[in-house]
């Protein structure tokens, strides 16, 4: 009787709409929050922050964003890298143009700007569907990268086209720039990730989420029962891009500190984030986090095992790492095409039935 919903009755629709209807889940969630906010910041060091936690949180935000678009609204996008670049360059321009305004506002504005750009590139989705759309979003990816590379205004005319994040503080603590401490970096990303996950959850459990999913599952039927495809798709693009833009802003300002568009926001980024949501689970908030964790941790882990543990030459390790990552992706897809989130749900379903097999 460890994991049961029996006896866990809901007496109001409000309770029924809860995010974690099962008590045990709820407790686990609160426990995770306590650890994330009150324990980790005190023990984190530079390595853990920079190699694991900060990228994990930032990518989780990007994955949430892409999941809204792809997982919920069914519009496959390979332009994530380009949209992250929009966020990064927007925050850079804002930071350097209005140094006195809080960085938090800049990051949110950067998200907003990305949302507008995202909507613009989302327009073709009204005509173009499926893989055609996916490939079409690559147009956004390549065009945006080219634009930021080409127009010197975006990088404040620096000689090499690189952008550098100047130091900005919140409550006196540096959150960008070289002097940022590991806990500060971690906390700002955590707060953004937490709030945005909550927003994503709200959006997807309400009517906008249903409209998105309806469009995803059967767009024609959705339109016939009253979903306006224009607003549904564009709102998905806007919301998704907002998240992705915030992630891009954080990636540049908080995590990397300096960036060059082709390198930091190239097409590989787009694929990476897509991987995260598919491995994690399309249309799942938890999946976005799980996928981000998987894709951030796996290479680090493999590298440590292969090079650190087994002492293989780095190049061999790197090649084998590629093979293992590729193999694992395939393996997970075969084991559960709906991702880690579904795997987790199934495990719980089995637990619920335990000890009976069915």
């Amino acid at each position: 009787m460890l994991y049961r919903e029996a006896g866990d009755f809901k007496t109001s629709y409000r309770d029924d709409g809860q995010t974690f209807p099962i008590r045990l889940d709820r407790w686990a969630y609160y426990a995770a929050l306590v650890v994330a906010f009150l324990v980790v910041p005190f023990v984190i060091n530079d390595y853990w922050a920079n190699a694991v936690f900060v990228p994990f949180l930032i990518y989780a935000i990007a994955a949430l964003g892409l999941n809204i678009l792809t997982g919920y609204a069914g519009q496959v996008s390979l332009g994530t890298g380009g949209f992250m670049a929009v966020g990064a360059y927007a925050v850079y321009k804002l930071m350097t143009a209005f140094p006195e305004i809080s960085i938090v506002i800049h990051i949110l504005l950067a998200g907003g700007i990305t949302a507008i750009v995202g909507m613009l590139f989302g327009l073709p989705s009204l005509r173009i569907k499926g893989f055609y759309l996916a490939v079409a979003t690559l147009a956004a990816q390549f065009f945006l990268v080219w634009l930021f590379n080409k127009v010197p205004w975006f990088y404040n005319y620096s000689a090499s086209g690189q952008i550098n994040a100047p130091e900005r503080t919140i409550l006196g603590y540096a959150v960008t720039g070289p002097a940022t401490s590991a806990p500060a970096k971690y906390l700002i990303c955590l707060v953004f990730a937490f709030v945005l996950a909550w927003v994503a959850r709200n959006l997807t459990r309400g009517m906008s989420g249903r409209k998105w999913m309806a469009i995803r599952d059967m767009d024609i039927a959705a339109e016939i029962i009253g979903v306006n495809p224009l607003t549904a798709k564009l709102s998905a693009f806007a919301m998704s891009s907002f998240f992705v833009g915030v992630a891009g802003a954080l990636l540049f300002a908080v995590y990397l500190g300096a960036a060059e568009v082709g390198e930091a926001f190239g097409i590989n980024k787009s694929f990476l984030v897509l991987f995260m949501i598919i491995i994690g689970g399309l249309g799942s908030i938890f999946g976005s986090f799980a996928g981000a964790a998987f894709m951030v941790l796996l290479p680090v882990l493999l590298k440590n095992v292969l090079v650190g543990g087994l002492g293989w030459p780095t190049d061999l390790a790197a090649h084998i790492e590629l093979m293992i990552v590729g193999g694992l992706i395939v393996f997970f897809l075969i084991a559960e095409p709906h991702g880690l989130a579904r795997l987790w749900a199934l495990t719980k379903e089995k637990l619920r039935l335990w000890p009976f097999p069915h």
Binding site: D46, Y47, A159, Q162, N164, P178, L256, A258, E260, H319
Partner: protein, 406 residues
């Protein structure tokens, strides 16, 4: 022990190039360890970490190694360098980026922890133009020079220098960017075929180099008039093109080939006992030599630091002092078994970039060898110095750094 991490890349689009460099870097330290028992009695450890030329992996490598007592980083990537510049000033690590990275880091007043001797991108551009001036009896008026560049931070570096030089010497400059990876350059080379520039200067990396040299030969552009920066001048760039690459020129800031006494030692202490990095496949190649040269400069700086500190075990701050007072004279090079291998280096608190001297080499396709064709040449500091001052000041302002007094 002294810890000198090797942030290398042996995979991905630039893996073929990165591998050779990393091998040279490793082997030189192995040589010092095996032959001399390290530097000043301290063994050198060179933990390697794969970056795949990717900034995020580079950062991860940096973070993974920095708390193990690492002294110095040499990531062989302009992107990663930009990433690390702000970090090293906080973590107090030395960043050494010979021939790449941020050019204005030459200004030691602003970039306390970064060194890029003996030469940087702008020096390279200037030396190339100087060479062309020499070829043309000191006059480039009315000549047309095309710059074919990797469309990234790295490739864009020489543009301003060349623009300045164009103004000064009266040649016209056309800029032709090529997006990574750059296998397909037909339209760019058709443009060159149409415009018929007198010379082409190239700032490329990876497959872009070969493709460009191939296309140049396709349109029968005279190879003698085609000059690459040092990152466009290794064997892997020319061999795929075969005989038609004969005569192609490239800059370099170190010697080539294996005609140096140090190779006897390498043979004896490293290669034969089977200690060579990854089987010693690339010994003696251009990029191998460059990795070796970087290791040499670092080891000399360590020696200097040990001298100053009076101890064999040093920290990064002491190493920085070592770098700032580093002097590598031709005599010293000869002592090290590498006579005339690199230019004389003399650094100071405000000059972290050395003299900027470089020379030219030319490819002999039949012999499959690079031959040096000029002596070390000084760049035109008149053009470069103000640019460096301007760019480093802009950085200082943007990042709120107060330049040191030197």
């Amino acid at each position: 022990d002294l810890i000198v991490p090797n942030l290398s890349y042996r995979t991905g689009a630039y893996g073929a190039n990165g591998t050779q460099y990393a091998d040279g870097f490793n082997d030189y330290f192995t040589l010092l360890n095996e032959r001399d028992g390290g530097i000043g009695g301290e063994m050198v450890q060179v933990p390697e970490c794969e970056t795949a030329y990717n900034t995020e992996k580079g950062v991860e490598c940096y973070e993974a190694t920095k708390d193990t007592g690492a002294l110095i980083y040499n990531p062989l990537s302009t992107g990663i360098t930009y990433q690390l510049i702000p970090k090293v000033s906080v973590d107090k690590k030395v960043l050494y980026t010979p021939g790449y990275g941020r050019t204005s880091a030459k200004n030691g007043k602003v970039f306390e922890w970064v060194f890029n001797a003996p030469a940087n991108y702008w020096d390279g551009a200037s030396v190339a133009v100087k060479y062309l001036l020499d070829e043309n009896g000191g006059d480039l008026n009315g000549k047309k020079i095309a710059l074919v560049y990797h469309n990234s931070a790295y490739g864009k570096e020489p543009i301003r220098t060349l623009q300045g030089l164009a103004e000064k010497h009266g040649f016209t400059l056309s800029e032709i960017p090529i997006d990574a990876p750059g296998q397909e350059q037909k339209s760019q080379w058709l443009q060159i075929r149409r415009d018929q520039p007198d010379y082409v200067i190239m700032y490329g990396w990876g497959v872009m180099n070969q493709a460009a040299i191939q296309e140049a030969s396709n349109i029968r552009f005279p190879m003698e008039n085609f000059i690459g920066i040092w990152w466009s001048g290794s064997e892997v760039d020319v061999t795929p093109v075969g005989a038609k690459a004969d005569g192609y020129k490239a800059l370099t800031f170190h010697g080539v080939g294996m005609d140096y006494p140090v190779y006897d030692d390498l043979q004896e202490f490293v290669i034969e006992p089977g200690n060579a990095s990854q089987g010693g496949e690339h010994v003696g190649s251009v990029l191998y030599s460059r990795g070796l040269y970087a290791a040499l400069v670092i080891s000399e700086a360590i020696r200097k630091a040990q001298d100053i500190a009076g101890a064999s075990q040093i920290d990064a701050e002491q190493l920085r002092n070592g770098f700032e007072q580093l002097e590598i004279t031709p005599e010293r090079l000869t002592e090290l078994g590498l006579p005339d291998f690199g230019p004389e280096i003399k650094m100071s608190c405000d000059n972290h970039g050395g003299s900027g001297m470089a020379r030219l080499q030319q490819w002999d396709a039949e012999a499959k060898a690079w031959n040096l064709i000029t002596e070390f040449t000084e760049p035109d500091q008149e053009i470069i110095a103000p640019l460096i001052a301007e760019d480093s000041e802009a950085y200082a302002k943007e990042s709120g750094i107060t330049p040191r007094d030197c």
